[in-house]
């Protein structure tokens, strides 16, 4: 099958890649661009490990054809923090609250939390849980993650930081 030339805009960087039409965005991010922060879990849209933002909206990159992401604005876990020395408040809060155990679900969790806070900067606990309904964690029991996101929301509100 002929490859298609596409341009991916990931975390503000532009990448020209030639991809087969049947390749998924998550595979191109990981294998072609080396951005392995985005994980593959179930590969059918249930677990949320592959969550990235496309045009600011959370999607499953395991169910998105790479060619469909051509010239769309993508954000992955690697692009969340603005500097290599500093974590994003959400990431910092995950560390502080022990919201990471094996860590496999964490990038997806953080991206879903980012999408949630972008749309709802002061979510209730229930709204946080709803916002994570597409992300599975088999270690933490979710409580630490929910606490971390609530604390990050407060921190971001008080410091006036943009997500």
């Amino acid at each position: 099958m002929a490859k298609q030339n596409i341009e991916l805009i990931v975390n503000g960087d532009r990448y020209q890649v030639a991809v087969e039409p049947n390749r998924m965005l998550v595979d191109v991010l990981r294998e072609d661009l080396g951005l392995t922060g985005t994980k593959i879990g179930c590969a059918q849209g249930d677990c949320g490990a592959c969550t990235v933002l496309m045009d600011g909206v959370s999607i499953s990159s395991c169910l998105t054809l790479a060619v469909e992401a051509h010239q769309r604005d993508l954000t992955t876990i690697e692009g969340l923090s603005t500097s290599p020395q500093e974590l994003h408040p959400l990431q910092e809060s995950f560390v502080q609250h022990g919201a990471v155990q094996c860590g496999y679900c964490t990038p997806g969790m953080v991206m879903s939390a980012k999408h949630l806070l972008d749309n709802n900067p002061k979510p209730s606990e229930e709204e946080i849980r709803q916002g994570l309904s597409g992300n599975l964690c088999r270690c933490t029991g979710y409580n630490k993650i929910v606490e971390a996101i609530g604390a990050a929301a407060e921190e971001m509100a008080s410091s006036g930081k943009e997500g």
């Binding site: 087969e20 039409p21 909206v57 959370s58 499953s60 169910l63 469909e68 949630l116």
Partner: protein
């Protein structure tokens, strides 16, 4: 299983989409959210040689409401956008609820209401509320358009009356009269992600004396297709609903259902829950209708 090979077309106009559908008619599928289609393709259940993407077609994502005309949901409108739309939330709360709780955040951000309907799962969460609101599908092909009542649309699990070369351009939902109320309730073993084991949607419109002018009831996950319950609707139309009448109508919904045993629930449980959910849906719809606003 590895993803089969195919060619992706990304047209910018509806005309090009229809041309492509016509030209590749023997082996073509429309792609929008892809949340059902790509999973089926990876599982080997579908192997179209051509995918025609709707994601770059201008104007197909529009959700518009106009008093008198009602609601128009564009063929590429995302489930999450429909669920957040202010007009949908205030006038069509059953549909808004379905679009806010089904699947996951990510799937709702990707998937479309039209795709949920065309995929024609017996459990399609938007189907029961759309049936209860009296919705129609606007189907378009190169030769022209036709409007299909949703009651005539589904023919079996995964099957619809759409012809090859035809696609859903929009879903039209009639306007809501004053003194109307509506509701959709679903049950699943898990609160999130899981497909509904039972879904019941209802719509009631009352006259000034509190008698039912129009009632529509619809069920999901309890028959090979989502379905309406005409017998139950007739029990309430022309009457002033009370608890006894609502229980009778709910019992008629149970008679309309043809559930099966599967991993999500037994047929007996589904029947029992149709009775309970139909009563709740009717009671809530009635309260809403009496409140004067839908």
């Amino acid at each position: 299983m590895a993803m089969p090979q195919f060619q992706v077309h990304q047209p910018k106009t509806l005309e090009s989409v229809l041309d492509l559908l016509g030209r590749h008619r023997s082996s073509v599928k429309l792609l929008c959210g892809g949340t059902d289609l790509l999973i089926k393709m990876r599982a080997g259940a579908q192997a179209p040689e051509h995918l025609v993407s709707l994601n770059r077609v201008a104007g197909l994502k529009t959700i518009s409401y106009a008093g008198g005309d009602g609601l128009v949901i564009g063929g590429a409108a995302r489930i999450s956008q429909v669920g957040k739309n202010e007009d949908v939330r205030s006038l069509y709360p059953g549909l808004a609820h379905a679009c806010s709780v089904m699947a996951t955040v990510q799937i709702r951000n990707m998937g479309t209401v039209a795709g949920n309907i065309v995929n024609a799962a017996p459990s399609a969460d938007t189907a029961a509320p759309l049936l209860a609101y009296g919705a129609s599908v606007v189907a378009v092909e190169r030769g022209g358009r036709r409007q299909i009542k949703l009651t005539d649309f589904f023919t079996g699990p995964g099957l619809t009356v759409l012809e090859p070369g035809e696609m859903v351009e929009a879903i039209r939902v009639p306007d809501i009269s004053p003194r109307s109320g509506s509701c959709y309730l679903r049950l699943s073993a898990r609160s999130k992600v899981d497909i509904a084991a039972v879904g019941v949607a209802g719509f009631l419109n009352l006259d000034l004396d509190g008698k039912v002018i129009r009632c529509r009831l619809a069920l999901g996950s309890v028959a090979p297709t989502p379905l309406r319950c005409p017998e139950a609707e007739q029990i309430l139309e022309g009457q002033t609903p009370d608890e006894k009448l609502i229980a009778q109508a709910a019992a008629a919904c149970v008679r309309a259902s043809r559930p099966i045993d599967d991993l999500r629930a037994t047929a007996a449980y589904r029947r029992a829950m149709v009775q309970v959910l139909a009563q709740r849906v009717l009671t809530r719809s009635l309260d809403m209708a009496k409140g004067g606003t839908p």
